[in-house]
């Protein structure tokens, strides 16, 4: 017996209903769009990047509870992080949602998404926004599609 509540934990539901930083960032100097071709969902990430530090971040778009929650919690976790820190952070997060290996000290609230690794089709949902941030950081404005 598996219990769906292991995937849809309360924190995920809360964030998906009331996502944080769900707005267009007025003074963004970076942005990128991400597509999930599997479902047709899209996300736009807005970044204010200064001296390699993410000063502010927001998002817009459509998505499932998993993707909304992942994006919302991500935005709250990235503020103040450097580009390099983001990369490590993403690596650890990516490992968690694909293998279940959680480093909750580093990931904090994001650890709530560890259940995703049991649902391979949903990995894209959890990582879409992350890939999009990565793209915004690397490339300014470009359209990306996750390839997972």
């Amino acid at each position: 017996m598996y219990d769906i509540r292991e995937l849809y934990q309360q924190l995920i539901i809360d964030h998906s209903k009331n996502p944080k930083n769900f707005t267009v960032l007025k003074d963004a100097n970076r942005s990128a769009n991400g597509d999930n071709p599997l479902c047709g969902d899209k996300v736009t990430i807005y970044l204010k990047l200064e001296d390699d530090v993410i000063q502010d971040i927001s998002f817009q778009g459509s998505g499932c509870a998993i993707s909304k929650a992942s994006t919302s919690i991500m935005t709250t976790s990235l503020k103040g992080k450097t580009v390099e820190e983001f990369q490590t952070f993403f690596d650890i997060f990516h490992q968690m949602v694909t293998t279940g290996k959680t480093d909750s000290i580093v990931l904090g609230k994001l650890a709530v998404l560890s259940g995703v690794h049991q649902y391979p089709v949903r990995v894209k949902c959890a990582t879409l926004a992350w890939h999009t941030v990565k793209n915004a950081l690397e490339d300014g404005i470009r359209k990306i599609a996750t390839t997972e």
Binding site: M1, Y2, D3, I4, R5, L7, Y8, I13, S16, K17, L38, C39, G40, D41, K42, S62, G63, C64, A65, I66, Y119, R122, C125
Partner: protein
Amino acid sequence: MLKTVKNSVKNDSNFIDVEKVRRDFPLLQNHYNGRPIAFLDNAATTQKPQVVLDKLNEFYTQYNANVHRAIYHIGEQATREYEDARKKVSDFINAPDPSTIIFTRGATEAINLVAYSWGRHNLSPGDEILITEMEHHSNIIPWQLAVKDTGATLRYIPLHLPVDGTLDLQSLEVNLTNRTKLVAIVHQSNVFGTINPVKKIIKAAQSVGALVLLDSAQSVPHSKVDVQALDCDFLVFSGHKMMGPSGVGVLYAKETLLNSMEPFMGGGEMISTVSMEYSTWNDIPWKFEAGTPNIAQAIGLGAAVDYLNELNMESIHAHENELMDYASDMLKNTPRVILYGNGSKRGAIISFNVEGIHPHDLAQILDQDGIAVRAGHHCAQPIMKRLNVPATTRASFYVYNTKDEIDRLCEGIEKAINLLC
């Protein structure tokens, strides 16, 4: 909790003893998470009765051999069974002759075959292909590629607005001109279930001299389709959607067309003579079946056709109509459910959304209770655009589904609402 009317299964239909039918399907005997599997994704693919699996096994253990050129007895038997399957399929859609039945990998390859063998050799700038906004990607992309190669133009019959799952047939007249060379249209929509008035459309197309291709992937498995009564030029469908194995589908085309068309792929069996400079082609249908065919799969499809005939296509259709009526009523009475499509003639496919719940989350939650539905764009992105949604949830039924499974679906939706909203 919904109030549900639990009919005794025997009464599900006048003809179909659904519990008896279900016993023929090994996969339906499985449980998941403690619940029996309710397979409600039959528009994507269907489960296989034991007789089809037995037939595959018979082929592989008794007469597995390459077809058409073997002198030895298992090769002869394989050939006979393969050509018998063609005959069964031919009779099933009332084709005038088995030679008009080409085995392909699926409906998709069948459409591409036409787009290459007919399209690339008959289309030029100024010519038009007319499809609809209701098509599956399999009946869009091959034409997008064909018009790119030939300079012809692709036009669309729009959906009726506001979207009710039917076509805007008034625009058919505007779009159908003597420039129209082909009308390629879905027989039954895989999103709305709408059964299009194809007979009328074929008549209209014929009056301007256009050919008609019917994408019958969703109609042939569920009702009696008669290619001669329809008088369509091409018709395609997939074996896996009608209880047959994966990896086999069918192109029917009028004999004169097949005879005049260029081959699609080159290789063994499709030739008559080969010299280094040029080759001549085999007769139809073999001209279009290059290389070793999907032998076991075609033979398995023949067994599926036998099984469907035994159940009787009219009885299947009646059972599904009853399920559809029940499902529509039940879903209408489920909170937050938005139903798409309400054409008067519909097959057993129902698309919906639940306010505040993403279709993928809904499908995930239903899966916990062993209910398999589809969430997504259903390979019909133009429809999603018109509906202005990224995706829908879709339940689609077959003869082995029950009202009880529909009850479980509605209960599952309520559960998802309680969890996520």
